[in-house]
Symmetry: C2
Subunit: 489 residues, 2 copies
């Protein structure tokens, strides 16, 4: 079982796929690029959803649902948007099948051709702003603070489970505001909600920044991002929040009467995170033994294993512990399968990333002790059974904090400031390149040239980047702040 | 506002649409047959989801997610299934758009044609059983108890918000078992979960029964159903649970080694309820003033209205009440909008179906009283402010029970036993026809003839239908139990 994971330093991509497969998180399906999210993987997504949903509601948002299909012509209404999304999308052209005349199965009924093709949503700005036109007439109707949990489809050519799939699950917030200031405040608020979620729940430190013009969402005036660093030294864009200005309001003619009774276009934001987060979670914490999960998102936080195998006394004690843990809100399970030996179960539970393992033996019962093993640093200790629930509850917090600190230390160790292109290339050629703070002259031309030469992209300009005079690492032209480069997923 | 609802006895269909529209539940979209579920309507769906999901988990099920798309050839693998679902489905034929050479917008890129067309799932048996083949090898892998929350598409020609839409939201359970007995027990268990949910949460009484061969799910050996009666005397199929036997296992070659190490095909069930339930909820309880919601599913259970308008003393008392209600888990809001008069707010809150309205006036404050109005029977009473939270909490239970009892009484009053075809037709010709228990000779031929003559279908054979000798109302042939006929949605 555990030995089925390829070590990271041998083949990082295979390590990732081994974990996804062997921890039973997801698998490929019969449909190219579409994944099956298995119950254990979906359990992680459910915890993410529940927490994010609570945070969205605390910030005043409500959920709604908009159609899966978008009329083809809608995509063309916002000029930048169509360039960004029309390339790779699933197109519905017919609405009926029929039996093949030769009896070979079913074929598309040529008579059932749609007048206008429908696109399976790659993102919903267009259909939603077409709807908002009917919902907004006055400033009293604003703000509209709406979120949708949905599936979307982007026809990616190279896919990887969770990280890049043709269909994925996500949430997309779409808000409408009376002023540019409110839209900007909303955009930043949702970036901060994402950052808080990433750091406090995923234990994944992120940099809050904004994208260069070249990397912006198609149709946005500004795209804010949270960027995380994976263990192979590549960046992962973990969530984005876009200030859409009046672009979609103009494209879909959404106006409102302001307090002075004058007509104005509405200001918009949109923001989203997806099942890609699960990929980020895996790559932030896991090790060569398998998945490592932060306690706050782990479907099972504690597993109790009878040693060497279940018996009446151990079962009774375990039942007592299960009840005590559940009363404290801890997600706990008892592995009473008597066809597997403890060593096998240990490896299996490590593979699944269960944060705390309790080994309960007959001798322990006599001594009033229990063995407590942490998944994060793989230490073990014997603890008194008395007070074990309190001990484990506080241990879960320690593990959550340790995972965050470990990831932060990793990021710190792999964050570099360079002032020459030679240093820049040298860092990028390392096994684990990381984040590079460097000066850039602010032009898309230079950005693209650097990308072409090194595969590194500008991940973001940090929200809090200090003013600092310098020279672009490629062109030597003046720059007044550093931006962050990295290779990225 | 409230006057915008057409009375039921004037035009029932329009009454329904008026409520959906004016209570802000849903609207049609730019895509034919696809609806937008607005925040208030989605709030009801969220409560349904949360409760059903808890019930599924209590009965041992886990959630997972399977692809939106199904390869066309999969539909043909189960002979009955393809007949049932191939007719009306959205077909993806291409995966890319391109700019039109004449600059007129985007067109489908003819070079990006899929080798095999993809169907947008109308239901997921085929893609899921194709996956289960990889998941099941031994009896130790069984049962598989899996549920999915998803959107599905059926290209309906005549649509009505919530009741019949091209895209709808639902859950679909798909389980795999080692024996026919277990599959049958699961099928009945999930029918009972649905019935419990309908009766205890929706306050909608249902008949538990099973379908005739003609009305079965395409690919099922047996389809169990819960059937509710709407206020216009038509039946609504509110949820179904299918025993699929070994049909899908054979179609997708899913076998397991049993305890005797012999290969057998796996036994299957599937079961689902959808956003159609919201249509049933509306039509069970609402009246000519608007929506009526059972407290357990109401997004807002109690609204407090300051009379005649907000002031400091009323706001302070309301804040205190809000906190006290929230502490008891009551979903409460304070309508402090001072641009609308109380009468307008009363009508608005009636339209939205908020179960309890509290009118808080300055004189009340002096007297230590508050006006309590019930939405269900529109009675009002003055109550002491002291202990008001306890009073309202228990009132919410009363309302929940009253709505159920009222719906049950309505059903009882509109349930008939007939023994001749003349009586049968006479009942069906009434304004509110209802359920008709009658004898039927058991043939599809007779069933279809009755449907053609009267538009009534056999809704179900009740699970607990007693043996009773009789003669078919149409053919006079012998029958040994009554079945339930009705006109239906
Ligand atoms: Zn430095
Ligand atoms: Zn009778």
């Amino acid at each position: 079982m555990a030995s089925a994971v390829t070590p990271r330093n041998e083949d990082y991509s295979q390590w990732y796929l081994d974990i996804v497969k062997n921890a039973n998180l997801a698998s490929n399906s019969a449909v190219r690029g579409c994944m099956v999210i298995k119950p254990y993987g979906f359990g992680i997504w459910e915890r993410m959803q529940r927490q994010l949903d609570d945070m969205f509601k605390e910030t005043g948002h409500q959920n709604a649902y908009f159609p899966l299909f978008i009329p083809k012509s809608f995509l063309s209404k916002e000029a930048a948007h169509v360039e960004g999304f029309a390339k790779e999308c699933a197109v519905v052209t017919h609405y009926r099948l029929m039996n093949a005349p030769d009896g070979s199965g079913v074929i598309v009924d040529p008579e059932a051709k749609l007048e206008e093709e429908l696109i399976v949503r790659p993102t919903s700005e267009t259909i939603i702003w077409n709807t908002y036109r009917d919902w907004v007439t006055s400033y009293r109707d604003l703000p509209l603070l709406i979120n949708q949990w949905a599936n979307v489809v982007r026809w990616e050519m190279r896919t990887r489970l969770f990280l890049r799939t043709a269909e994925f699950l996500w949430q997309e917030g779409h808000t409408a505001h009376a002023t540019a200031e409110e839209a900007q405040a909303e955009t930043l608020q949702m970036q901060e909600v994402y950052a808080t979620f990433a750091e406090e729940y995923m234990a994944m430190p992120v940099i809050r920044g904004y994208k260069t013009e070249n990397e912006r969402f198609a149709g946005a005036d500004n795209t804010y991002t949270i960027e995380a660093l994976m263990q192979d030294g590549k960046a992962l864009q973990a969530g984005t929040s876009h200030n859409l200005g009046q672009n979609f309001a103009k494209a879909f003619d959404v106006k409102f009467a302001n307090k002075d009774n004058q007509e104005e276009y509405v200001y918009a934001t949109s923001w989203g995170v997806s099942t890609r987060l699960i990929g980020g979670l895996i790559m932030t914490h896991s090790d060569d033994e398998g998945l490592v999960l932060p306690p706050r998102l782990a479907p099972i936080q504690v597993v109790i294993i009878p040693i060497p195998k279940p018996n009446e006394a151990l079962d009774a004690k375990a039942a007592e512990l299960l009840a005590a843990f559940k009363a404290r809100g801890v997600r706990v399970s008892y592995d009473s399968d008597d066809t597997k030996r403890p060593g096998f179960k240990f490896a299996e539970n490590e593979l699944k990333g269960i944060p705390v393992r309790l080994g309960l033996g007959s001798r322990d019962l006599e001594n009033g002790t229990i063995e407590v093993a942490r998944r994060d640093n793989k230490t073990k200790e014997s603890q008194p059974l008395e007070g074990i629930v309190d001990h484990v509850v506080s241990l879960l917090d320690d593990i959550q904090n340790n995972l965050f600190q470990r990831a932060l230390d990793f990021r710190t160790a792999h964050t570099h400031h360079v002032d020459t292109f030679e240093e820049f290339e040298a860092i990028l050629n390392r096994d684990i390149p990381g984040f590079i703070y460097a000066h850039w002259d602010g032009t898309t031309e230079t950005e693209l040239k650097i990308k072409e030469m090194t595969k590194a992209t500008i991940r973001c300009i940090p929200n809090d980047a200090p003013e600092e005079a310098g020279k672009c690492i490629l062109t030597g032209k003046p720059s007044h702040r550093r931006v962050i480069f990295a290779k990225a997923y």
